[in-house]
């Protein structure tokens, strides 16, 4: 085994009363990809932020090349050769994609002026390496979560760092993009870089990593070579108990058509999309990143307008671009971008969780803390939200726990049509099973569920029917019995017209 490049020893970190890390150790070796797994709130992102220089550890040491490393900030970590992809994309919406990648390191020409042309071509080359099509000149505002993650990845690899830390970089990516990311990561690894890879998708962790460290409740549990581990062992160490079956699909009787979409089109986004979701049915919308899945969901919910077509709920037509009407008709949308669309980061957990129901919970127009708390507590428990107090700002929660709050917020509205866009993004195994059970149960109660997911096992495990989109068009409608990895991927890459 190669010598360790970066070492953490006895590292602890607390936020007020919350001990996020307790006596954690980690060794990253050059030429190796190291996996880090743990439940939501286990402390993974906190560890990342220590490596990034965002947080200073309360105790313990970090050494790089055998030298103690004291980081006073992210710029210093970068200068030391540590590149970090944070769990939540941190882009500047008003600036161009190229500027986002090179901020503070823009190529220069005479008089230390920024060489915009070179910056643009450099960004283009990075995207070519990652095999993505993004215009370096467009502003970052409005990028999908997946594209934001790709920009973050481009930013990190552009640093040619010796240590590359990736906190759930694949959470919104589908198979093809993940493969490209892996190819680039392996190339960096072979060039001698040490990589730390965090993910809740075990197939990825086992495919990419040479060693895996498990964390639980802020503590180090184990580090082993990947050959010595199985998924079951890792899950047991992570959760500390057996996990109920994933994808506990209940058999349901499919009822009357609930959501009907006919000939939906928007110029440049999607064309002639038509399908029906029946009461009691879970329909998955699969496809590659950028296929237009989220756009269709947003159009159905009325966030964006469409140019042609119609949307009906229980046979009643929804007016175009009218979110209030959609909510009134019983439609709920769990959006893909929790930071921008799902949560009010400064508000408390309980306020966020009960936001759509505030009128229902209010007495005489006054929102009472007690009723708010009761409603939120029930859901927090059901989804195992790990939060210090329900009155804490939602921004202090770990990424996966924020996602749980978004889910709670909309599930509690008792929708008739539930649209979920990447419902389990960043959610750990234990809760993932719970989310799946919930969705399944809602369907059994007669809700029509439309689910966008980039995670193929989730699609195959949960869906009664799989709709596949490719470049803005529906290319396949595959019933559960015939849905396989091959048939879905074929349609998603546009190789087959089923």
């Amino acid at each position: 085994m190669s010598a360790s490049l970066l070492t953490l020893d006895g590292v602890s970190k607390s936020f007020g009363a919350v001990a996020a890390l307790r006596d954690v150790r980690l060794e990253l070796a050059g030429g190796q990809v190291h996996g880090l797994v743990g439940e939501n709130g286990a402390g993974k992102s906190t560890l990342v932020k220590i490596l990034a220089g965002v947080h200073a550890p309360d105790a313990g040491t970090v050494t790089l090349d055998g030298q103690p490393l004291r980081l006073s900030g992210p710029a210093e970590a970068r200068a030391a050769g540590i590149a970090v992809i944070y769990q939540e994309p941190t882009l500047f919406p008003d600036l161009s994609v190229a500027e986002n990648i090179f901020m503070g390191r823009q190529p220069l020409r005479g008089l230390r002026r920024i060489d915009t042309a070179k910056m643009r071509t450099d960004a283009g080359e990075l995207f070519a390496r990652l095999g993505v099509h993004l215009d370096p000149d467009r502003p970052a505002r409005g990028l999908s979560i997946a594209d934001q993650q790709l920009v973050e990845i481009a930013k990190a690899i552009s640093l040619d760092a010796r240590v590359l830390v990736m906190d759930e970089p694949t959470a919104a990516l589908s198979g093809v993009e993940v493969e490209r990311l892996f190819a680039v990561t392996r190339a960096l690894r072979d060039a001698g870089a040490a990589v730390l890879f965090i993910s809740h998708r075990f197939d990825e962790v086992f495919a990419l990593c040479q060693r895996i460290t498990v964390m639980r409740d802020g503590r180090w549990v184990s580090t082993d070579p990947v050959d010595a581990l199985t998924v079951d062992v890792v899950v047991r160490r992570m959760v500390g108990r057996e996990v109920s079956a994933m994808y506990p699909k209940q058999d349901t009787t499919v009822g009357a058509p609930r959501l009907q979409v006919r000939g939906l089109s928007r110029d440049g986004a999607f064309a002639d999309v038509g399908f029906t979701v029946h009461s009691g049915e879970i329909v998955a919308l699969a496809g590659l990143v950028g296929a237009g899945r989220s756009e269709v969901c947003r159009a159905i919910f009325g966030i964006d307008r469409y140019d042609a077509g119609e949307v009906l709920v229980d046979g009643v037509r929804l007016s175009n671009g009218d979110t209030a009407a959609a909510i009134k008709a019983g439609v709920a949308l769990v959006p893909e971008d929790r930071r921008q669309q799902g949560l009010v980061m400064e508000l408390s957990v309980q306020r966020n969780a009960t936001l759509p129901r505030r009128w229902e919970l209010a007495r005489g127009g006054l929102l009472l803390g007690a009723s708010e708390r009761r409603a939120a507590a029930a859901w927090a428990q059901r989804l195992q939200v790990k939060a210090g107090r329900l009155t804490d700002a939602v921004s202090t929660l770990s990424g996966g726990n924020q996602q749980k709050v978004v889910l709670a917020k909309w599930l509690a509205t008792k929708p008739r049509v539930l649209i979920v866009d990447e419902p389990t993004r960043g959610i750990d195994v234990g809760t993932k099973a719970e989310v799946h059970r919930l969705l399944s149960q809602l369907a059994a109660e007669g809700v029509a569920v439309l689910m966008v997911s980039s995670e193929l096992p989730e699609v195959l495990g949960m869906a009664d029917r799989v709709l596949v989109m490719h470049e803005g068009r529906l290319t396949a409608d595959i019933p559960r019995q015939r849905a396989t990895e091959e048939s879905v991927m074929h349609a998603a890459t546009g190789q087959a017209d089923a």
């Binding site: 992210p74 901020m103 503070g104 220069l108 230390r112 502003p139 964006d304």
Partner: protein
């Protein structure tokens, strides 16, 4: 793509300006006489310099409400220095004014960084503190044109090839700051800070230092404006620049600088200053009652904000498609 949109935004102001001037000139052709144009240029020069400074601050998602008081204090200081040292060369006086303003700006920036209090609150405080110092210093006195060198006073109204010297000052400031913001790393970082302060921190941008620098720049430009104010008006008491800050913020908003930071340009802000000046000069010519002038400025601000929202919605739509 966005570039184009922002050019569109600035063209919009130019268009409004042309329209306003055309209508006013038709009603009263004297509105375009050499003297009247010179007055307009003179009138907008100081406001434009202040607007450029304010834009730097607003781009970082902050605001500087103390610029009117800094202008007043610097203007009075200019007069006092000339009373004490009548022979002082003009460039030295300009430098003193700029340095004095920068020091006051540093007080703002330092308080914001140290106390972690929003700029709105801190500069609202220093607005009164600086003005109070001005009153204490002046003690009801007035400094008259006779107390200042004639060369200095001439600078306030002189023209070079028909263009007032004050306007040249404004143009130089505008071009220099505009060029800096577009072409230098630290300039781009100001936009990044305003665009998403939390991301800027995670990215390791030295936000504290940059914001402090933005306030120093705003203060320095307000100091420059104070010296030019002294040169232009000659008679100085402690009320110089009273209430100017609202005009300046209005110019910046009308000029398309997003009040939540991250976007807009100093060119827009300067154009906003010119537009406001022309409105204030033009509406009386059109025979509009002074009460409606303020209402017109207000309507313009609301229109500008509406336009910005519409434009950003358009961009958002075209980007998603």
């Amino acid at each position: 793509m966005t570039h184009r949109v922002f050019v569109v935004r600035e063209l919009g102001i130019v268009l409004a300006l042309v329209l306003l001037v055309a209508v006013t000139a038709i009603v009263n052709p004297r509105f375009l006489s050499a003297q009247s144009v010179k007055d307009l240029l003179l009138g907008s020069a100081i406001l434009a310099i202040l607007a450029v400074g304010q834009a730097i601050v607003v781009i970082t998602r902050n605001v500087d409400l103390s610029v009117g008081s800094i202008l007043g204090l610097t203007a009075f200081a200019t007069g006092s220095v000339f009373v004490a040292a009548p022979g002082l060369p003009i460039p030295v006086m300009v430098l003193i004014g700029v340095a004095f303003g920068a020091a006051l700006g540093a007080v703002n920036g330092g308080l914001i960084a140290a106390a972690r209090v929003p700029a709105l609150v801190v500069t609202l405080g220093t607005l009164y503190v600086f003005r109070g110092l001005d009153y204490m210093w002046a003690q009801g006195r007035q400094i008259n044109a006779a107390d200042m060198p004639t060369g200095f006073l001439r600078m306030g109204t002189a023209t070079v090839a028909g263009v007032p010297v004050l306007t040249l000052f404004a143009v130089v400031v505008l071009v220099a700051v505009g060029y800096y913001l577009r072409n230098y790393r630290s300039g781009r970082e100001l936009y990044a800070i305003g665009s998403d302060p939390a991301a800027a921190r995670l990215y390791g941008i030295p936000s504290g230092r940059r914001v402090l620098a933005a306030f120093v720049a705003s203060g320095a430009l307000a100091g420059l404006a104070g010296v030019l104010h002294a040169a232009r008006f000659g008679t100085l008491d402690a009320n110089a620049g009273l209430g100017t800050e609202l005009n300046v913020v209005a110019a910046v908003v009308v000029g398309g600088v997003a009040i939540f930071g991250g976007s807009g340009s100093v060119y827009g802000a300067a154009l906003g200053a010119v537009l406001l000046t022309v409105i204030r000069a033009g509406l009386p010519v059109l025979g509009i009652n002074p009460f409606w002038q303020d209402a017109a400025v207000g309507a313009l601000i609301l229109a500008a904000i509406g336009l910005d929202r519409a434009l950003s919605a358009r961009i958002a739509r075209s980007l998603r498609g």
